[in-house]
């Protein structure tokens, strides 16, 4: 494995928790990740010694808090290779980021007769905001289908993009683990005069990100999935687009003037950051980005590829036809998120037995109901691995599944 796993694990206090005397096996990081000491301590230290308002007051405490908050923006900008820090907008979660794009960009660019393109593997966060706008403005939503292996089926992409104004897609499926060819998709969108909106929620925490190399127009992602705190999300946007858009939420800080008869917007990024911001959360996110950068995102990816190969091997090897793993068997085009059906045991019951062994997996529709319908399932079991997971944990998962099989065949 590409990094020193035992020292990494020691960084995450919750991984040392024992429940009923047994260690926690946290395999739900695609849902939300655990946090290292560095993040937790940065937040409590800031709260104890340095908390103050940002971008509003002028005394030193406030100025230092502002520097901490804006410093986090610079760190995030570097982490995804944004051209300018003010192309990074802090939101509350990736869902808000995608709503921001759908509404603020959409309201000046989409109307009846227009079309946008989504894919069959999108998370609800990249579907519902567009459906809400479509219901209001009457544009068409087209869908990129999937191959049997759970990859995007790009055969008809040109036809789908013909006349479309936007292509919005996930860089990595939160159900299938599929890694999509982001750069090619952005290029295809641009070739048709559409913008490319990337849902980076599942990819940014797990592999290096370069928004300029992608040549994307917007990328949404969340702090809580990349070892950062809850309560803060991210939107990277191309400067020219962010500048051309109307604001999203109205209120303090996003204005340069307010009169009884109207208001003027502030400059980027304030324009999209109305009200008191997630200050402590930005500080924690800054620490998270430092933590990931120190590990090296290439190493994180290498570690996860190794885990994926091993997990797929062991699961298939041990359970054969009793397990149906969704998505591609090729670890080079997938992340460490493994969804599966296990015999005829309902996912909720699988997760129950696994929980008895402290193995935390998600059972459900994973906020991707259109994809679930395609898979012909109401729910799947999903085990998702991250930088702190180990080979041993794969074994524990397999053993717990073994017991599940036994229990439900008895």
């Amino acid at each position: 494995m590409a990094h020193d796993l035992s020292s990494v694990r020691a960084d995450f206090p919750v991984l040392a928790e024992l429940i009923d005397g047994k260690p926690l096996v946290y395999l739900d990081s695609a849902n939300t990740s655990q946090k290292p000491h560095a993040v937790i301590d940065a937040m409590s230290c800031f709260l104890e010694h340095s908390y103050g308002p940002t971008n509003r007051s002028a005394y030193r405490l406030a100025a230092d808090a502002t520097d901490a908050y804006e410093g986090a923006r610079v760190k995030v900008a570097r982490f995804v290779n944004a051209a300018k820090p003010h192309e990074i907008v802090f939101t509350k979660n990736a869902t808000e980021s995608l709503n921001l794009v759908a509404r603020a960009w959409g309201s000046t660019n989409l109307s009846s007769g227009d079309a946008i393109v989504l894919t069959h593997m999108e998370h609800h966060a990249n579907i519902v905001p567009w459906q809400m706008m479509a219901a209001e403005r009457g544009f068409e939503i087209r869908w990129v289908p999937l191959t049997a292996d759970g990859l995007l089926d790009l055969t008809d992409l040109d036809r789908l993009l013909d006349g479309a104004k936007a292509l919005s897609f996930t860089a990595m499926s939160n159900v299938l683990g599929t890694i999509n060819p982001v750069r090619e998709l952005c290029a295809a969108a641009h070739a048709h005069g559409a913008i490319a909106v990337v849902d980076g929620c599942q990819s940014v925490p797990h592999m290096p990100t370069d928004v300029r190399e992608w040549d994307a127009d917007f990328v949404a992602f969340s702090s809580h999935k990349m070892v950062g705190p809850s309560g803060i999300g991210l939107l990277w946007g191309r400067e020219s687009l962010l500048e051309s858009m109307p604001p999203f939420l109205g209120g303090g800080s996003m204005i340069s003037d307010v009169r009884l008869d109207g208001f003027e917007c502030a400059e980027l990024p304030a324009k999209f950051e109305a009200g008191t911001q997630p200050i402590v959360e930005a500080v924690g996110l800054g620490a998270a980005v430092d933590y990931l950068s120190a590990l090296g995102m290439d190493n994180v990816r290498a570690h996860e590829v190794a885990l994926t190969v091993e997990a797929l091997d062991k699961l298939k090897g041990r359970f054969g036809d009793d397990i149906e793993i969704h998505g591609s068997p090729d670890a080079s085009v997938r992340g460490a998120t493994i969804s599966f059906a296990f015999r005829d045991v309902h996912p909720h019951d699988v997760s129950q037995v696994l929980d008895q062994h402290n193995v935390c997996v998600r059972a459900g529709h994973h906020c991707a109901k259109p994809l679930m319908r395609l898979l012909g399932a109401n729910a799947t079991v999903r085990a998702s691995f991250y930088l702190y997971n180990t080979s041993d944990e794969i074994d524990t998962l397999c053993d717990a599944l073994g017991e599940t099989a036994e229990f439900f065949s008895a």
Partner: protein, 145 residues
């Protein structure tokens, strides 16, 4: 932590594997759909009420062992009962599941029968929603009569 046997009593697994009263009913039967947002389970309950009695009941949909067996046992328990008796049973069942109920305490003389097997679910709070899904859906269906 309570063991799996507390949750998965034999009779529960039996109802799960051999669900009673599967299917659907046409009008004049009433129906309602329920779903559990946590796990995606979906259920549809059909009830035919004749002369104030549940003349027939059918369940369709998919779900985990707890929600399916609870629905199956419920269907067996309510068939032939008056609507009033059914309501008393629903109240008694919800009370067993320690779901807060407004109003008076339920009539503990109402017999739960096989349904007692679901008592173990209370030790697994997340599963309570699974166990009551069919019951809430039934209540909604009956409100359509």
């Amino acid at each position: 932590m309570p063991g799996l046997e507390d949750l998965y009593r034999e009779i529960i697994l039996d109802h799960y594997k051999n669900p009673r009263n599967r299917g659907h009913l046409d009008a004049p039967a009433v129906s309602a759909k329920g779903h559990n947002p946590l796990c995606g389970d979906e259920i549809e309950v059909f009830v035919l009420v004749e002369d104030g009695r549940v003349a027939d009941v059918r369940i369709s949909g998919q779900g985990c062992s707890i929600s399916q067996s609870s629905a199956s046992m419920m269907s067996a328990a309510i068939k032939g009962k008056t609507v009033e008796e059914v309501r008393a049973l629903v109240s008694r069942f919800r009370h067993m599941m320690s779901i807060e109920e407004e109003g008076p305490a339920p009539d503990t003389t109402v017999a739960l029968g096989d349904l007692e097997a679901l008592q173990g679910v209370v030790k697994f709070p997340v599963r309570i929603k699974c166990a009551v899904l069919a019951w809430n859906t039934l209540t909604e269906a009956l409100s359509n009569t």
